[in-house]
Amino acid sequence: MTTVALEPNPLREGLEQERVPDASCLVIFGASGDLTHRKLLPALYSLAHDGLLPAGQTIIGFARPDYGDEAFRADIRKACNEFARTKPVDDAVWENFAKGLFYVQGDFTEPEAYNRLNQKLTECDRTRGTGGRRIYYLAVPPNFFPVIAELLGAEGMVTDPERGGPYTRVIIEKPFGHDLATARELNRVAVTTFRERQVFRIDHYLGKETVQNLLVLRFANGIFEPFWNRQYIDHVQLTVAESIGVEKRGPYFESAGIARDIIQNHMMQLLSLVAMEPPVAFEADAVRDEKVKVVRALRDFPAGHESSSAVRGQYTAGSVLGEAVPGYRQEERVSPTSRVETYAAMKVFVDNWRWADVPFYLRAGKRLPKRVTDISIHFRPAPYPLFKKVAGVRTQPNVLAIRIQPDEGIALKFDSKVPGPTVRTAPVTMEFRYATSFGAEPPEAYERLLLETMLGDSTLFARRDEVETAWAWLDPLLHVWEESPEPPDPYPAGTWGPPSADAMIERDGRRWRRP
């Protein structure tokens, strides 16, 4: 069956929000969880506050605890008051928002619960004009995904415009598997019930303004692209540093480690956006086609010599931001003999025409001195050292630093003559800061991503092949680490990682940039 595209609403012309989603029922599986309370519902409330949700948009919490609609609403109002960008909650906005907020109690493994859920959905179609459109947000551990997908399919709760029905979309949270095999299995299960374009794999990094700005910086400005290659760039550094430890996520982190938690997903996204070729269009598949080519071009770690390009560490007791903190092995619900890495640093190469032999140094860690995500492009020095014989001149390579969070912005470092009768140089920076130039607080990543799902635009979501290709690249290294009798290199909390990470980059005559 062919679907007929609706003509655009002429009254939307020129308005800030030119595209508005049709009202749908968004079902949150795991509605009693932390993610729902801290991120999802506050994000949806903020969208409502800003007038970005359509009339009739309906949200149904689905979880095991025995709540009613009113208790759920009271609970969510409290959460919005604490976590929403647009807090405190506005009475009038809340009143309208709460009219579309419902709760269905049920066990994810019980067909009867789906029956109740389906009845509620049908009722909402009738009373709220949601027209059979469904979005299922799986805010649940990945082991629930197969049974949820199977029961949704079995109960006839999945429709597709190409098969003549309204749309159904499913949002999956990371981790997208534990390794390549489990990721493939997860994807196999998904496509038994959903088509790939119905699956929205959320990586909240892609919802961040600064991450999206990477595309704008590279492809909306004429000056950067000519220099964005091996001819002009010496190396690239990517840092995802967290000052916090594992908090209450000990058991999860024990099974994951920093490489699975950060590098396989967030860092791969950042690396892809920095290294990708220009897409043929700013459309979901065109952008993702180019991103996946980058991951596909990643050089394998040298077999048997992995430690020359990959270092892992684990924090010991120390102090962060003036507070004494325990070591990883002393954290709650963490094994006292754990060999899980809380820090990883890697030297990787993108083996293609543009990036041949340009190293990308990646590092991610917990209990580092501060929370910062930063990309720095280090340019080659000037081709001829004109000032080499001039005393007082020590030229330094140019660096373009892109700060993803916090204090988002871009800075370019270059040398300048120090005023005076002699030639002396000093590095100076030209800086752009989002907060200085644009003032207003940007929307939360989840706001953008939820809205994009409602609009059916998957540009900012990971595609199946991206996920599997990243696992295929990382898996051998993880396997080596798991098999290795050596524990991760220790580093005191509050430092920038183990000395072995410094040694890795210093062997190449380079140093980690202090972000």
């Binding site: 609403n9 012309e13 049709d22 007038g51 906005v93 004009g129």
Partner: protein
């Protein structure tokens, strides 16, 4: 650091020689860099405000000072009086605000006052003070001048946008002047009264978002608008309602004829005297359905109801009467002037003339 410079950084207006405004500003930031802590000078726009009275001058300065928090800018406020004594003076100051963690962001403000034949020297001076490679918005404070077009044209020369507020307009002819400026110069006009309609437009658009409502705009038969006005005889207060009606008509694909009538559509306005002005309610009648958009001043929301055969829940949009600085910020945050205003202006002028004639 001289006391003068200290005062400028503290936000005080400091009189400077108008020949060396740029030089003094440079000195200000050099000193700040040496002695101050974490101060950033920022600018995304050059905003030139033209005032014809000291009252307007003060008001423009305060408004743009507040606006510069959201949109950093070099502000130039000029006040001219061709009938006054032949003199010219300039002042500088800085509008600073804390960004957090002790960091300050500052925008510069320059005031120029000129009288007599010195007024002619103002446009080239202003042009010289514009920060290069930054867009220029020209805000004409108060009513538009119907005389001295050459002066206005020379001021508007480098402007990327002309901002007016038609709430101060005396007659439909003022709207005509805005339209002509848009047609005859390369400076697109922006009207704060049009910006005031943002939420109303979003609410009206939401009525026609559901797929089942999408085609019904073309069957629009009647528009009724109720608005509060503080002075029922003052033309400017009716412009917001005129714009809204003209926009609905234009986007529904209908036209307003030269006599101000709209074939096959009834368009009525009710203006009610009140302490605060603003649209209260809009009723739309289409084939087979009707819609109402209503402002609830005490709840600060717009609600939208669709009746008839269709089942669309009430929609709600947060709204409040925006202050002028907030309207200017909204306008400056748009990368381009809203071209729809130029589409709506001719219809609004025709409807306004018909109403004036009646």
């Amino acid at each position: 650091m001289s006391d003068n410079i200290r005062d400028a950084i503290a936000g005080e207006e400091v009189r400077v020689d108008y020949n060396s405004i740029e030089q003094t500003l440079a000195e200000l930031w050099r000193i700040e860099k040496t002695e101050g802590e974490a101060v950033t000078r920022a600018a995304l726009w050059n905003v030139v405000a033209h005032a014809s009275s000291s009252e307007h001058h003060t008001s423009a300065s305060e408004i743009l000072g507040r606006a510069s928090i959201a949109v950093p800018q070099r502000t130039i406020v000029i006040r001219t009086n061709p009938e006054g004594p032949p003199e010219m003076a300039a002042w500088i100051s800085a509008n600073c605000h804390l960004l957090g963690a002790g960091k300050q962001v500052c925008s510069e403000e320059i005031s120029i006052v000129a009288g007599g034949d010195r007024v002619e020297r103002v446009p080239p001076l202003v042009h010289a003070l514009l920060i290069p490679d930054m867009p220029v918005a020209f805000w004409w404070v108060g009513d538009l001048p119907h005389e001295n077009e050459a002066y206005v044209r020379s001021l508007l020369g480098p402007a990327d946008r002309l901002i007016v507020d038609s709430v101060h307009f005396d007659s439909p002819e003022d709207l005509g002047l805005v339209q002509r400026t848009g047609e005859r110069t390369s400076t697109p006009p922006a009207d704060l009264n049009w910006v005031r309609l943002d939420e109303w437009r979003a609410a009206a658009a939401s009525v026609f978002d559901p797929p089942s409502m999408r085609g019904r705009l073309k069957t629009l038969r009647e528009i009724r608008i109720i608005a509060n006005v503080t002075d029922i005889a003052y033309f400017g207060e009716s412009v917001e309602a005129l714009y809204l009606a003209s926009w609905l008509v234009a986007q529904a694909g209908m036209g307003v004829d030269d006599s101000g009538n709209i074939p096959d559509l009834s368009c009525t306005f009710e203006f009610r005297p009140a302490d605060t002005r603003g649209i209260l309610r809009v009723d739309l009648e289409m084939d087979g359905s009707s819609a109402a958009i209503e402002r609830h001043p005490e709840r600060c929301v717009l609600t939208t109801n669709v009746d008839g055969q269709l089942n669309v829940p009430e929609a709600l949009l947060r709204t409040s009467r925006k202050k002028v600085d907030e309207l200017i910020v909204r306008e400056l945050k748009q990368p381009e002037s809203d071209r729809l205003l130029m589409k709506v202006l001719p219809s609004a002028i025709r409807i306004a003339r018909r109403r004036s004639a009646a």
